[in-house]
């Protein structure tokens, strides 16, 4: 019978939750790296027991940990992230130039095709690649140097490169997203990049339709349709049907189109999930009711999913990397909250139950479906 392994990064360590295919009884293992911020963990699709974790601390900086046994044991690997050449400046909150400074790794994305290759999205925004399983890192500096870099600005949480999507049919094509710069695409494995933000409209920036400067919170794709992208922007849920060349809004009947995560059903490319959050100044669900919204039409028409979720006095947030799906039938959907709950649905969102409810604030959730 298949198994599921949920990798949870929190403010104070990493946790690994495992279950069989029924997804009803769970084993909880952790904390790993107790006391450290774990922005993200992810497993290699080529070797599911090869895991990577981003471990960081305000005192001791950045570490990368690697496991070769599914998270039972870990070893620290390379943590030297040095920008290529003279880093230059980006735009600070007040509009003045500010030097590029490495702070932490937000997201790790193992290659779909090369077992020893893994990508890292970092703050201040840049993309790094390791071809030796995390021992050494080099910046793919064509992104930061493509021209608009000096105009990128940090979002409230920093200027992080938080999403990396690899086209399964063409691994040389990748999409990344930066808060608050926008979405960028490469067709040559990261050598050159172009911004793909046409159609985005952000009223809080000087030019609402600027080529860069949009606070994109998360993008998602279904592996069978890499030209179709979904986006949770600061405000607005968006969709592209041409690999990001243009975007259109699909917020439809959502009660609020502010939020952080967005994800796609494993078997239904038009079924997507978001977690509406009241506003950018009130980072919690409307009226204290935690609701996932699902669209089975690729956006515009949304239904609230509430069964098993708290419908009163709930004031948690769900961060951008804290939602994932498994590939079982039926599709499992998972998300973690800043209140330390990890919720799972084994029926594509129809009903939910907490796997754990008292972890530190959850920063990321990834899921592995294992044979």
């Amino acid at each position: 019978m298949s198994k599921v392994r949920v990798l949870v990064g929190t403010r104070k360590g990493a946790f690994i939750l495992t279950s069989d295919g029924k997804r009803q009884k769970w084993d909880v293992n952790g904390p790993h790296f107790a006391g450290w911020e774990i922005y993200h963990l992810k497993g290699s699709p080529l070797d599911p027991d090869r895991l990577y974790a981003s471990q960081s601390s305000g005192w001791f900086g950045q570490l990368i940990q690697r496991s070769s046994d599914g998270g039972k044991t870990w070893e620290p690997v390379g943590n030297k992230f040095v920008y290529d050449g003279v880093p230059g400046t980006h735009q600070w909150y007040d509009g003045t130039p500010h030097p590029w400074e490495f702070k932490r790794v937000w997201h790790l994305e193992p290659s779909l095709t090369e077992a020893e290759t893994v990508y890292a999205g970092v703050e201040d925004a840049a993309m790094f690649r390791s071809t030796d399983a995390g021992q050494t890192w080099e910046e793919l500096s064509g992104l930061r140097k493509h021209g608009s870099g000096p105009h990128w600005t940090p979002g409230a949480g920093g200027m992080g490169l938080h999403t990396i999507l690899i086209d399964p049919g063409n691994p040389r094509r990748m999409f990344i997203a930066i808060s608050a710069a926008g979405v960028f695409r490469t067709e040559d494995a990261g050598k050159t990049w172009q911004p793909i933000n046409q159609g985005l409209r952000s009223e809080h920036i000087p030019d609402p339709t600027a080529e860069v400067g949009h606070c994109v919170h998360r993008i998602a794709m279904h592996p069978s349709r890499p030209n179709v992208l979904f986006m949770q922007k600061h405000w607005d849920v968006m969709r592209s049907d041409n690999a990001g060349d243009s975007w259109r809004e699909v917020s439809g009947n959502l009660p609020t189109d502010f939020g952080f995560p967005i994800d796609v059903h494993a078997h239904e490319p038009e079924t997507i999930y978001v977690v509406p959050i009241k506003s950018d100044s009130e980072h919690f669900p409307i009226a204290g009711k935690l609701q996932v919204y699902r669209s089975r039409t690729g956006g515009n028409e949304w239904e609230a999913l509430t069964k098993g979720l708290p419908q009163s006095n709930c004031y948690v947030n769900v961060l951008r990397d804290a939602m994932a799906v498994d590939s079982l039938d039926s599709c499992g959907v998972y998300f973690g909250t800043t209140g330390g709950q990890v919720y799972a649905s084994a029926d594509a969102g129809d009903s939910w139950a907490p796997i754990v409810h008292d972890l530190p604030a959850v920063m990321s959730v990834e899921v592995q479906t294992l044979p």
Partner: protein, 98 residues
């Protein structure tokens, strides 16, 4: 042998106890001690000093013989008692945050 005491998280990372003993060649300075420490425990690279600038990370302090040495130049000799292994070189995490 120089005695270096590490904060708890770095002990866990390096899989050592509170104090480690390391051999330092040449003059005993902050730089030579940290170079020797990182050579013996490579996983500590970047956690005490910046990889590139080699500057002390802002929330760490260096103490020895009841003195704060954090702002001493890295090539200044450390106190004789440290060089003789009678007193530890302390790496301490600042009490900050929550």
């Amino acid at each position: 042998m120089i005695v270096v005491e590490l904060p708890q998280h770095l002990r866990t990372l390096a899989r050592v106890g509170a104090a480690v003993r390391i051999e330092v060649e040449g003059e005993v300075t902050q730089r030579s001690v940290l170079d020797a420490l990182e050579a013996r425990y490579p996983m500590l690279r970047g956690t005490i000093r910046d990889h590139v600038t080699q500057e002390r990370r802002p929330f760490l302090r260096f103490f020895a013989c009841q003195e704060d040495l954090s702002h001493e130049l890295p090539d200044m000799p450390l106190p004789r008692a440290v060089a003789d292994g009678k007193e530890p070189f302390l790496i301490i995490g600042a009490i900050a945050g929550g």
